[in-house]
Amino acid sequence: MNLALKDIRHGLFRFVLTCFGLGLLMTVVLAMIGIYNGLVSDALAVVKAPAADVWVVEAGTQGPFAEASSIPADTRNAVARMPGVAEAGAINYQNIEAPFQGRTLRLYVIGYERGRPGGPQTIVAGRGIGTSHFELVADRKTGLAPGDTIRLGRNHFTVVGLVEGAMNSGGDPAVFMALADAMDLQTELAPADQRVQVARGGGAVKSASVAAVIVRVTPGADVSLLTATLRQWKHLAALTQAEQETILLASVVDKARRQIGLFLGILLTVSAVVIALIIYTMTMEKLKQIATLKLIGAPDRTIVGLIVQQALILGASGWGIGLVLILLVKDVFPRRVVLEPFNVGVLAAIIFVVCLAASGLGVRAALKVDPATALGS
């Protein structure tokens, strides 16, 4: 006769409610883990997308994701001719705001050279950028659809295709356009005083600059030799892909990551305390029944089994409900929530340990209770 299950069924409504409450708490914990993962993986998305081996950036800077980097657009030609370089493409990044259907979209504009590295990866709807001017491939999260037109600067751009998961480290969705369009857009949107300069024929240099040149090397090429050579060019610096990722994580998202990490720690602690409290209270309410069981001759095994099984059922249901809820709502979050089976597994292990520890407290109290207390009225 399984006393744990019978007792649960007896107070089913309350037990389910408790599980549900715990499940909600687990949802928050899982959401936090997911947000943390999402933050890291989103931050890296923009760096990983071009599948580069080496980033050529402005000398003395940490690259376009950490600070402003500006190098002449024709750097690409020079770089492409270097030994060991398979492909090279100039790339340009800028944040803009644009009105669209009564809303203001914050977009991360990526300008790239068609047929060279840096463009959108997998087109999920429509097609890639063609040869004509003013075409866009947008991330689905922009809310734009193929066929939409949107005014950026002085020109109307037509959305021709969609991608997924393209955004900057702040989570703003990306749009891809031809490098030439992007450079024009940058000039148009430059501060007024610079535009005046350009109009006077003074500062054409600015308009011919890009943020970085992306390099893919030939198989077996010596990447460190290549970066060393590139660094000899006075106005250039070179970062390997790994360095670029480290910089981004260390300088750009590190604070946000630590913030969420700390919050997650607090949340896990609170959950542990709540679980312990629930299980302890559950046991305390049953002390008289436990005394009765002892009086009629139940061994400790039966009593420990009753408490531990209920604790584990509670923990498992809370975890399960949390998992189901987060899977249901995770796409509603404005930023990506990424849950790896590993994280979910670790949470299960933590809950398991907490439940066991908490039932340890209850078991201690239960084993101490005097069977004679069952006789008192």
């Binding site: 006769m1 007896h10 009765t292 139940a298 061994p299 069977p371 004679a372 069952a374 006789l375």
Partner: protein, 230 residues
Amino acid sequence: MALGDVLVEVQGLAKHFGDGETRVDALRSVDLLVRAGEVIALLGPSGSGKTTLLNMIGCILDPSAGRVALDGDPVFDGKWLRNDLRRLRLDKIGFIFQAHNLLPFLTAEENVAVVLDLAGWPAEKGRARARELLDYLEVGHRAKVKPALLSGGEAQRVAIARALANRPRIILADEPTAALDSSRAQLVMDLLRKLAAEQEACIITVTHDEKIFDRFDRLIHLRDGHLVDA
């Protein structure tokens, strides 16, 4: 019936609570012998030590001094002689509670069968025995009902069925009829008498209920922790 086996043998049993200023001598050197088939009443004013004596016989209260033997086995002699007192209770002792203390999450039938489950009976046999006892006690029709929905008398009879389930030879009851009206109380006592005879068990009952005194073989009076001759 011929004189049965000695089921309960108590010698020089004493119990005090607290020490020094706060010392209470609940029981001072009590001797008692109860044989199979006997139905005994423990009488005495409030605070005279009735419950204390009953609980020590039931091995749920540590005596301060004395000796206890149950069903021929010595179980206490200055200290407990066995470390499996719960198993002893399961096999030899049936408690009938005043506040009948049924487990609220089990049905009447399960409340009886749980004892047999603990004793290692197969589930099917345990349930059949529980049913049989409940039928015998005329609460068979309430077998599937949880304690909260039973009347006081029904609950008391289920508690009696539970106490009897594993055929214990020593049945201890602390005011078993307090919750019952007098005709029901007499029915319960008749029933206990019948069971004692059939199962060669003894029954020790604490009671204040004068209406049922004639149902006992012996009345034992306690006063200030001593047995007094009636």
